[in-house]
Amino acid sequence: MPDNNNENILRDSQLASLGKMLAGYSHELKNHLAIINESAGLMGDLLEMGIIDDEQSIQRFKKIISVIEERINQANTMAKHMSSFAHKMDIPDSNFDVNELLNEEFAFLDRFFWIKSVSVQKKLQSELPAVCNNPSLLQFVIFTYIHKIVAGIEAGGEIALSSQMQGKNILIIIEAPNLSALTIDQDSCSPDAAAIKYALNKMGIAIMEETLADDRHKTTLTIPTT
């Protein structure tokens, strides 16, 4: 029987997380478009003002074109991630690659890392087996968890993320300076914390939190592969 209260909390939290993700992402896209716009405008200016009559100007033009191409490629990669993210919602349970999901997640979180000057150490074990679970829900959990850590972390902090195989499980490990996203609001019963716990329970994913000797906080998600 569905737990309506927790389902509602989860849905609200998912919507809020989607809003944050889209806000950050659209801002990034606008940045690329702004640079494309200025670069194309500069080429127009140079043409209009007749300043392209020597080899130096031609080289300048080539440089501007390469900036446009690079920014289009970056915007295209962002669009691909967004499309892949949207399609994960098509079928709730499906086979997916955990590392691919984590890489996509980091593209969504990139702007939030940048705003706080947070550096990220990523160590993903290659050739992990596919997981059959709810990729969209897992993505929500990881996004919300890391987003909350980034919001609470001091500027210039560091987050480490790794994936590894252990027996028949895949472990996702997040390490951050003395922060747990589940208690960051000073309240382990906050709506996001409740939504994360409920979502993990729904997916059959265990969560373990511990404080390391150097005072860093370690969170391990254990995802069964079978």
Binding site: K30, I35, V67
Partner: protein
Amino acid sequence: MENIKLLIVDDEEEFAATLAERLELRGFSSKSASCGNNALEVLASNFSPDVVLLDLKMPDISGFEVLIEIKEKYPSIEVIMLTGHGAATGGKDSKERGAFDYIMKPVDINELAGKIKAAYLKNA
């Protein structure tokens, strides 16, 4: 109109450099700063711009904080905010905090040039 000096503050260095080049082609002279702290350092040095073009969202200190400091220390310098936000709220808020005006990214270069001239003429 005499040569108008600009300080362009944006962490997207390619954006700032290209915008600077386009404005220079229109007769303005400019310097760029890649973050809020860098902008304040430039202002504390010998460079005294007529108008500052200031990005709202930057990684070290926000455009709002830089705006407040500029208006406190250099009240004669006019500031035009550059914002990539979908909503114009940030721009409107910054006008309340002393900015001359704001413009959304991607910018219309002629609209921006017009705003810069209007900002300059305010104190001329």
